[in-house]
Each structure stands twice: as structure tokens, then as C-alpha cells.
Symmetry: none
Subunit: 218 residues, 2 copies
DNA sequence: ATTTCCATCGCGAGAACACGCGAGAGAATG
DNA sequence: CATTCTCTCGCGTGTTCTCGCGATGGAAAT
């Protein structure tokens, strides 16, 4: 079930001020054949110093309650140093403002120290595969906030073909390119686009694309 | 690690039209000493009929692609029958509108059939303990929708005027309308748009609008 | 003081689009 | 069997866009 380990292990960073827990975690990560944790620091500052010459860091586990720079404030600094890293918050905080701040700052996941080690390791794998591992209680918190903000999505009933064309338009393709890609004539695409205009109540491509993205249709 | 099993097992419902998968799931649930699945149906209608005399249902696993009533439409009906149930969507759909609709309808979690059986069983436990189990890719989708977007902002430095024009384009206005609204000539708007194209590396309005929205510039 | 950016304006040609007005085929629904 | 939907295709006209090639003036920076 673990990801294939033919290639080099994925570089994992760890920022956690409790020495014991940090060691346990580092050991757990290094016990996974496809992961390696060479940099485990007790603060954001120390981590940035430690990794001054490290070229790549794929996932960074970040505690929030740190000496010096607080974890949430550290997120942008870490992104500046490792723009492609995925930052997973790993902390005991489960208060909504902190959680939302961390996620708004760009964290790709939020785990709790109450989670089991294998849950955390699974979270790293999920982050590596493009997911956002969330502790289920954190997820619930986000969902309730989310539903409060976004009560109702106005249901637009586009056909499958219309959705397909819309998403291609949202990539910047012109009608002719879409026609080629779908192996239909320009006129067919044109007709679909007209129908989309009618359903979205717009009169040009950019308006359709805008509305589609804002409504989550593309 | 399993919840205590001193008390009666928790009642789990299952609505899934694929017979094989339904049986596998039911068996897996019944293999957990603290869970029991007595009602496993192939449609929302059948489930409501089956459980006509069932007093309590704690968690309902719900497929979306069902014969008859579609899963999302079934959520309110299930809630009417079992107001205290926690509904977990379990499906293959991972398209944003469907996911958001289901969660807006009150689903307490969203799992994918690609998830392992033990992940699903863990999801049930998490739901029972008040959490909202989310597949990590679904979680990521929600997060990105939730905060507009945050994936390593590629720092596009548009001028104020360019941003202004871009946001008007994102409302579906055409260049001439924008020119009127800003009290400048068409050519001015046109020039700004060209500069935007260069910075965003696109060659038409819809591509610019798409990129702008996805990058949070408009 | 020169350079660099920004916003403004202009023309023309060719491409792409918007839209009215069609049509036919196949599937699903009733 | 008629209707409705969806996808497919076609033409013509006027509108809009894209882009190359300019330009001027002001503000800020070096």
C-alpha cells in the first residue's frame, strides 16, 4: 500500500519544539522506506538555518506553539524558502480561529497530536499525492464554517458536453481548438457555447468563464 | 483503539446499488464488534421502506449514483426520517459541484470508493465521535474553494489599472463597456489588456479571466 | 538629467466571436 | 407515436478581439 520506493525518498521537514515527540516522529518518518527526514528543528528559525543549503523539501510538518516565531506566522516564511513544499500543521490547537488562520496561510493539511503516528504518516503520503489530510474534527469545524458561508449553490443544469466545453474554455482554448480536440466541427462548439450563454445568462466567453469558475462549474 | 463495546452496537445503515460492494461493506461493518448493519438497501426508497419501523440509525453510508432518487436529493429525505443520523457520502464522484451540494445538504463526511475498507470503517467511527471524515482529496477541494486559492501564488505584478480592468472583464464586460465606464478610449483598454496577456501568458480574454480568478487576482 | 515605468491614445488587417436562422439524428420520455 | 433533449452541423453578417506598429505626457527613480 505504501507508494513505490523505486525512486529517491521524499524529503520531509519537521518543526516541533518538544524534543521527545520530535524524535519519535523523526524516527517514525525515517522508518518509512519512501520517506526521509533529515531536518528536524525546534523552531522555524532553526529550521530555516538548518536547511540553508537544502535544495528541496516536499512536506513540512509544523507545530504551532513554538518558541520565537509562531507557527502560523512561519508559514509564509517557509513558503518563501520552499515554494513547492506542502505544509502540514501538526499541533494540539483545535480552536477555530487558529485552524482557519493556518489554512488561510496556505497549510495543506491539519493534523492533531492526538492522532496516531500511522495517521500522521498516512497524512504525509496523502499530502504527497495532492490531498489535504485533515483530522476529522478539524474537517467538521471547517464544514460547519463552510456551510455557513456558502449556504446554497445555485443549481445550473448544464449538460455533460457543455461542462466539458466550459472547462476547456476556462483553460484559454479558443473554439476552434476545442472543436479539434473533441473532433467535432466549429459550429457544434459554437452551438454549445450559445446554450451555455443562455443558461449562465452571459453574452461572451469571458463572462461565461468567470461565472463558471465562480460557481465551481469548471 | 476501537470504541468501547460494553454498550449495544451502533446501528449503521447502508445505501448502495452495487450488490457485491454492498455485501462486502455490510460484512465489514458487522465484523466490527461495536457496529451493526441490519439495513443495507440498493436505493433511498428501498432503505426508507426497510427501516419503516426502525427507531434509531446513527450513521448512514450513502452512495450517490443510485437508481431512482439521486443520493444528493435523498439526503434531506433521510434526515427527515432520521434527524439525528450522520450521513456519510460514499461514492466515486469527486466533482466539485456534487461534493459541495452533498455537503451543503448536510452530509457529515465524504469518502470515496477508492478508499480502503479500513479507512471507511475508521470514517464511521470518526462520524460517531463527532468528526467529519473526508477523503483527503475532497478535503483539498474544499480548502481551495474555501480560501479562494493559495497554491504558491506565482507573484504576478499587475498594475492597479490592469487589476481594475481585469476585474471588470471577469464580470463579463466587453472592452468598449470598460472604456466607457473608466472614461478612457477603447485603445487604452486594449493596450492594458495586451499587457495583461503578456504578464499572464495568455492570448485571449477568457484565458485571462480564468487565470485571474484562479490566481485570486479578480 | 536620463531612464524607466505607467497610463493614455491611434490605425489597420486579419482572426475570432455573437447571433439569427436554420437542419438532422438518436435517445429518452410519455 | 409524439415530444423533448442532446448533440451534431451549416451559413452569413455584423461585432469584437488580437496584435503589430506606432505615439505623448507625467511621475518616479537613479
Amino acid at each position: 500500500m505504501s507508494p513505490s520506493s523505486k525512486s529517491a525518498p521524499r524529503q520531509i521537514g519537521l518543526i516541533e519544539d518538544h524534543q521527545d515527540y520530535r524524535r519519535v516522529l523523526q524516527q517514525a518518518i525515517n522508518s518509512s522506506p519512501h520517506l526521509i527526514c533529515q531536518h528536524a528543528s525546534s523552531s522555524v528559525e532553526a529550521f530555516l538555518a538548518d536547511t540553508a543549503t537544502t535544495p528541496k523539501m516536499e512536506v513540512i510538518l509544523l507545530d504551532l506553539n513554538l518558541p520565537g516565531i509562531h507557527g502560523v506566522a512561519g508559514i509564509p516564511m517557509l513558503f518563501q524558502r520552499f515554494p513547492d513544499a506542502r505544509i502540514l500543521v501538526l499541533t494540539v490547537y483545535d480552536h477555530k480561529p487558529v485552524v482557519l488562520e493556518a489554512l488561510a496561510a496556505g497549510a495543506s493539511g491539519y493534523l492533531l497530536k492526538a492522532d496516531r503516528l500511522d495517521t500522521i504518516l498516512r497524512g504525509i503520503d496523502e499530502a504527497l499525492s495532492g490531498g489535504a489530510p485533515l483530522n476529522s474534527h478539524i474537517a467538521r469545524m471547517i464544514l460547519t464554517t463552510f456551510n455557513a458561508v456558502r449556504p446554497a449553490a445555485p443549481e445550473i443544469d448544464l449538460t455533460d458536453r457543455e461542462r466539458e466545453i466550459l472547462s476547456l474554455l476556462a483553460k484559454g482554448l479558443i473554439k476552434k481548438e476545442i472543436a479539434d480536440q473533441l473532433s467535432v466541427s466549429y459550429h457544434t462548439v459554437d452551438t454549445h457555447v450559445r446554450n451555455i450563454y443562455g443558461k449562465l445568462k452571459v453574452h461572451n466567453l469571458s463572462g461565461a468563464v468567470a461565472k463558471a469558475i465562480q460557481l465551481g462549474l469548471a
